[in-house]
Symmetry: C2
Amino acid sequence: MLSERRLEVLRAIVQDYVGTEEPVGSKALTERHNLGVSPATVRNDMAALEDEGFIAQPHTSAGRIPTDKGYRLFVDKLAGVKPMTAPERRAIQNFLEGAVDLDDVVARTVRLLAQLTRQVAVVQYPSLTRSTVRHVELLALAPARLMLVLITDTGRVEQRMVDCPAPFGEAALADLRARLNSRVAGRRFTDVPGLVEELPEAFEAEDRGTVSTVLSTLLETLVEENEERLMIGGTANLTRFGHDFPLVIRPVLEALEEQVVLLKLLGEAKDPGVTVRIGHENAHEGLNSTSVVSVGYGSGGEAVAKLGVVGPTRMDYPGTMGAVRAVARYVGQILAES
Amino acid sequence: MLSERRLEVLRAIVQDYVGTEEPVGSKALTERHNLGVSPATVRNDMAALEDEGFIAQPHTSAGRIPTDKGYRLFVDKLAGVKPMTAPERRAIQNFLEGAVDLDDVVARTVRLLAQLTRQVAVVQYPSLTRSTVRHVELLALAPARLMLVLITDTGRVEQRMVDCPAPFGEAALADLRARLNSRVAGRRFTDVPGLVEELPEAFEAEDRGTVSTVLSTLLETLVEENEERLMIGGTANLTRFGHDFPLVIRPVLEALEEQVVLLKLLGEAKDPGVTVRIGHENAHEGLNSTSVVSVGYGSGGEAVAKLGVVGPTRMDYPGTMGAVRAVARYVGQILAES
DNA sequence: GTCTGGCACTCGCACACCATGAGTGCCAGG
DNA sequence: CCTGGCACTCATGGTGTGCGAGTGCCAGAC
C-alpha cells in the first residue's frame, strides 16, 4: 500500500516532469515542493514507487519519469479537473458564437480546442443516429430520378440520389413527402425504420416500387458509415512532442489520417464525464505514446457526438480535461440554440 | 550562356540529389552518368553553375545541391512530365470509380495523390462559382422560416436557413420554387444574379420582402467564402522531409491548417497545365522550403477547381507532375459521369 | 520503525582531440 | 578546351576524459 506521502511524491514527479520535460531527481523534488522530508527519504519512496511500476528511470543515473500506470493513478486519484477561468470561458463562448452553420461550429471548435490545449484537437460531427429528424425533402430531378434530402435537428444535411424503378408522378411525390414528414419529423433516427414500415401500402401498386426504393435509401442514409465524420486540427502542435521526432510523430500522423481509428478511439470512451486514455491504453499502436482526452457533447442533456484532444502522455491533465469539458459544454449550448 | 553540357551536369545533379538526398560531388557524377568528360571538367562546369546561382554547396568541402533557381531551370527546360504507366493509370481509375458521392471522390483523390507522390496532397472541392445550378429547393420549416437548398452539377449541396420578414404561404412558396428553378436550373452561378433580379415583382406586395430575402440568401451562398473548401491528406509524409525536423515541418503544418493560405496557393497558379512553384516562389514563408505542384481539374473541358501536392523542393518533379496530371484527368472524368 | 546524512558508485553527456577522406580550386600541360 | 595532378579545406565519426546529477545503501539519530 502506498502511504499518503508517496502519493504526494508521485504527484510532485508528474507535475515537475510535465513542466520541465526532464527526468526529475530526488533533490530537485525536495527543493521545488516542500514535502518536509529529506532527499534520502524521497529516494526511498521513489524506489517503492518504481517497484510498484508507477515511475521508471530512463538511465541508471537519471531521475525518474512517470509510467503510463503512474499517470493513470495521477489522473484517477491525485488530480482534479482544473476549471477554466471566467475570462477563458467568456473567450470560448464569444469565439463559438460567431459560427454561422454546423460546419463552422465544428471548425471553430477544433481551432479553439487546439489553441487552448496546444495539442491536436478532434471533433466528431453530431452523429445522425442519435439525433432527430427535422425534415425530409424529396425533389424530382427527372421523371425517374429523385433527390432525397435529410435535415437533422443539429443542422446537418445529407442528400442521396434515388433512381426509381418507374416514373413517379408529381402528385404521388407530394403525397409521399407529406406522409413521410408527418411520420418521422421530430422523431429519433433509431425510431424511423419502425415508423415507415407499412408506408408503401398506402400507395398505388405502380408506385410502390419507387416508395420502397426511397425508403430503403432513407434507411441506408441513417446507418451509413460516413455518418461518422470528424474534423481534426492543431497538428502543428505535434512538433512540440519530443526530441526524438520522426519516430514518434510519424505513426501519430498516420493514425490521425485514419478516420476509422479516430472514431474508434472516441467511441470507446463510454464514460459520461471526461475520459482519459493513457499511452498503451489506446488500442492503436501508433498512439501508444499519446494520451487521448475526450468527452461527449450534445445539444440537449444527451451526448450526440464526442470531441477531444490527442497529446503526449506527458501532458497537463487537469488543464486539458478542464478545457475539453468547458468546450464541450459551450458547443452543446450553441447547438441547442440553433 | 550555359553550354549544353553544363545543363546536362545540372540535370545530373538534380537527379542524383533527389535520389540520394546527399550533396553530389564531381567524381560521383562522372561515375553515375556517362558525361564523357573527367571530374575536373565537371568541376569547372559546377563552378560556373554556382556562379550563376543554380547550385550551391552547403559546406566548403561538400558536394553541390541545386538551388531553387536550379530546380526552376530543371523543371522548365530539362525535365518533361513523366507519364504514368498503364497499370498505374488503371489503378487510379479503379480506385476513383468506387466513390459514392462528392465527398468520397475528394477523399479518395486525396488519398490517391498522397500515396502516388508520397507527399502531402491538397484537393479543392469543385468551386461553386464555376459550376452550374442543378436545382434549388425551398422547404418551410416553420411559417416564417425557410430552408434553402442548392444543388450543383458537381453534386455539391449547400443549405441555408432563411428567416422571413413575414409568414409565407404554401402556395407562394410553391410558386417561388417553380419560378426560381425555371430560371436558374442549368445556368452558371455567375449568371444567376442577373436572372433573378426582377423576380420579386411577380409576387404580391406582402410576399416581396420574403422573396427578396430568399434571393439575397441565395446570392450570398454563391459568393460565400466557405464555398472554397478543401481537403488535405498524407501529412505523415512530412516526416520524410529531412533530418532537421521540427524547424522545417512546423511552419508547413501550420500553413496547411490555414485553408486561406492553401487556397491562395492553389489560386495563384493560373497556368492551364501543371504549375510548379518552387521554394521561395511561394509567397507564404512557412512554405519556403517546399514546392507546390498543382493543376486544375473539371468535369467538362473547363477547370472548376484545383488539386496538387506539397513536398520538399527536393522532389521528383517529373514523376510528381505526371501523377498530379493523371489524377486530375481521371477525377475530371468521374465528375463528368456522375 | 522511520527519517536523515554521508558516501561510494554508476553512467550519460559535453567537450576536446584527431585521423580520415570526400570534395574543391587552381594550374600547367596536352 | 579538356585533363591529371596537387595542395588545401573542412565536415564527420570515433575515442578518451572529466564532470556532475542521481542513485542505493548503510549506520546512526529521533
